[in-house]
Amino acid sequence: MNSAGVQDLRSDALPDACMRVLHEGGRMQMAYAWFPDVEAAELRYIADNGSGRPFEIWRVAPGEATPSLASISPLLGWYEREMMDLCGVRFSGHPEPYPLVLHEGARPSAPPLSPVYRRNEPMPFVPEPRRLPPVQGEDVQQLPFGPIRGDVQESAQFTFIYIGEGILHYDAHLFFKHRGMEKRFEGLSVSHGTLLAERVSGVGSLAHALAFCQAVESACGCEPPPRAQWLRVLLAELERIYNHLHYLGYLCHTTTLKVGEAEGKFLEERVKQINARLSGSRFLRGVLVPGGLQRDLAPRWLGSELEVLRREIHNYTRRLLATNSHLDRLITTGVLARQTAFDQGATGPVERASGLDRDTRRDHPYAAYAQLPVTVAIREDGDAQARMEVRIEEIEIAIALIQHVLPLLPEGSVRSACTPCQAAEGLGWAESARGTVFYAVHLSRDGAIARVKVKSPSFSNWRVFPYTVHDSNMMDYAINEASFGLTVSGCDR
């Protein structure tokens, strides 16, 4: 895509445009700001009008105060707060007008993503206590947890306000791991941009690099050769398989099913070793480049190994689905209603477990997915059990997709020239193991990266997750969190 697909909109027309999208059965996807000039930010809104229809992109020049759309499409609330923090954009009528990404006490000399903020300028910070809702009552207790948590976990701070076993209110304080990744993209070449995209969320390296490369390819009008497109599907599905196996093992950890935990993690390890043999990296890093693949892969041995693994995985998941002690802890735990999932922007297996039938592999196909039979796993119950079942089914579908791809792999080169174009923009997306990753890439007049917006699935799902914790009980918390399969670094960036 060049800027031809972008539609200009006045900021006061935003509420009507947003209501039209929702009324016609679409949904808002994301919003971000960038600085085409040193002086003024420009806003971009992206709407999804459903299967088979291109994403709508609106370009909006912010006025004195752009109307907030958070009360029309609540999922946009976090994007708007992020723009306030990092780009200095102001919104009127925002229901939660306080910082999100930057912690209280951070004092940047200018909005960090604006061009006047220098690339290597540190940001002064004197930590301030987290603002929590005031609570009264004799037996109400407050439990702070984190940011350094037990075992080996990513950093985030949670506060439980509870009576006995019942959680009254749950506060997730995120963005301890905010690294300013989007600023680091600025000024880089597109090949260096790929390396950075791989390091936004390690366990989503492939999906992030894929979305980034596709955004560049879309901006510059390059088309990877067919073999690269098919191999991209194969790599993306391998990433899904090892992530989902890890998920199943970790979920068993929270329900104290020890052998189930060991088996899930053992199977995950086996897939990571397959990744290393295939690509040289357990995380499938260093394989993708704009225009195709860095080098060819020889997956001839993969089919038979995967078939052995498929039987073992089936043997494992069949047992999980027949283990009452496991299921007892999952059924009705952390129920996410379909409407909440839609309004707050849940993505991936989380939304599909709440009955929302969306998957970009089928609805907005990329790589070689348009030529493949993509089945989408759906459950209606929205509880931890449904989220597990969706993932179990997705592992089976992923293996079937790879087995479908292997005999059809076209011969030929895996890389076509993709010369960085000038002053162009592109949108790329990929359905990662955790949901949809979006990359919006803007290239400057010299072909270097001017702005990259990263939308990771965990940014969407962390916003949704607390709705399933309020008014639940302490005993279920760890199981519920595991059932969402969230990463923190993807969210915090």
């Binding site: 912690h103 951070a106 940047p108 960090p112 903020y117 690339r119 290597n120 300028e121 540190p122 940001m123 910070f125 930590p127 940011p147 350094i148 075992d151 080996v152 976990q153 990513e154 950093s155 301890f176 791991k177 905010h178 690294r179 300013g180 990744m181 600023k183 680091r184 090949s191 390396l195 390091r199 936004v200 969320s201 390690g202 366990v203 890890h246 093992g249 099913l257 052998v259 189930g260 060991a262 088996e263 993690k265 053992f266 390890e269 070793q273 290393a276 040289g280 990296s281 357990r282 995380f283 890093r285 260093g286 860095q294 080098r295 047992r319 283990t323 990463t487 923190v488 670094s489 915090d492």
Partner: protein
């Protein structure tokens, strides 16, 4: 017999014998740090330095214009190997890159004769062969966490080596830090460090913690652990694989030798 117990028994032993016996460490095909051979360098060629995003390869500003390599900044992306027209960087499986001195990650023509500084000799006396580790994620991409979690899968089974992750820094001997140290995690990291009993050790795991990696500086990050806490052990890698982690932890305990000196991996 309960169904899962039977299942576990039927699955048999999954744990490798490495590092005690054999060489089956599970890292077949994995790319390690590129091996550097400056004798092959063409004069005035800077191709490798141009493609190196984290600045692990730099051209010496002096008149000799030699190539300088710092493995503490390497993210193992392999781009230098593909960019070099002369083969001065070669693909390797060198991943056991734990070192006690940061200098040992910088490639040197002639090796210093003294081996890497030994840790204070008391670590074995104090802890015997066991170790309790408190991990702190100070802004990683979660790649390091994914591999740290893999340490306790049945394949590597870290427990068999007497090494355990512990929840409280008060029960920890080693503070294992990942990530470039974000502005918001710096405070909690220092608090965890201060809560540890003496004697204690600190390990920088992954290229981000060693040097800041691809994300060094900027408004939200520092340059890794140096200058924040005294570091006893550096392990670069993006991320280091679980076998490299085991090797480095055993090195800390004096149960394995340091393999890297002056950027060269020996035996």
């Amino acid at each position: 017999m309960p169904v899962w117990t039977l299942f576990g028994l039927q699955r048999g032993k999954a744990t490798i014998d490495w590092p005690f016996a054999g060489d089956q460490d599970g890292q077949e095909g994995l790319c390690g740090m590129p091996r550097h051979d400056p004798a092959r360098c063409a004069p005035d060629c800077e191709a490798c330095a141009v493609v190196c995003l984290p600045g692990a390869i730099r051209i010496d500003p002096g008149p000799a214009r030699t190539v300088q390599v710092d493995y503490g900044r390497c993210i193992v992306c392999q781009l230098c190997i593909e960019a070099c027209p002369e083969g001065a960087f070669a693909r390797s499986s060198d991943w056991a890159f734990g070192v006690r001195r940061r200098d040992d990650l910088v490639w040197q023509e002639a090796l210093a004769s003294e081996p890497g500084r030994q840790l204070p000799g008391k670590i074995q006396k104090v802890f015997g062969r066991s170790l309790h580790v408190r991990h702190v994620d100070a802004g990683s991409c979660n790649g390091c966490e994914s591999e740290l979690q893999a340490l306790n899968n049945p394949f590597y089974n870290l427990h068999r080596l007497g090494i355990f992750f512990t929840a409280s820094p008060r029960a920890a001997d080693l503070l294992l830090v990942t990530g470039p140290i974000t502005y918001a995690m710096r405070g909690p990291l220092l608090e965890a460090y201060r809560a540890m009993p003496e004697p204690h050790w600190v390990m920088a795991m992954g290229t981000c913690a060693v040097s800041g990696g691809v994300i060094a500086d900027g408004y939200a990050c520092g340059r890794g652990l140096d200058g924040v806490l005294p570091v006893d052990l550096y392990l670069p890698g993006c991320p280091p694989n679980p076998a490299a982690m085991i090797d480095a932890l055993l090195m800390l305990l004096g149960r394995a030798p340091q393999r890297v000196q002056g950027g060269h991996l020996g035996n």
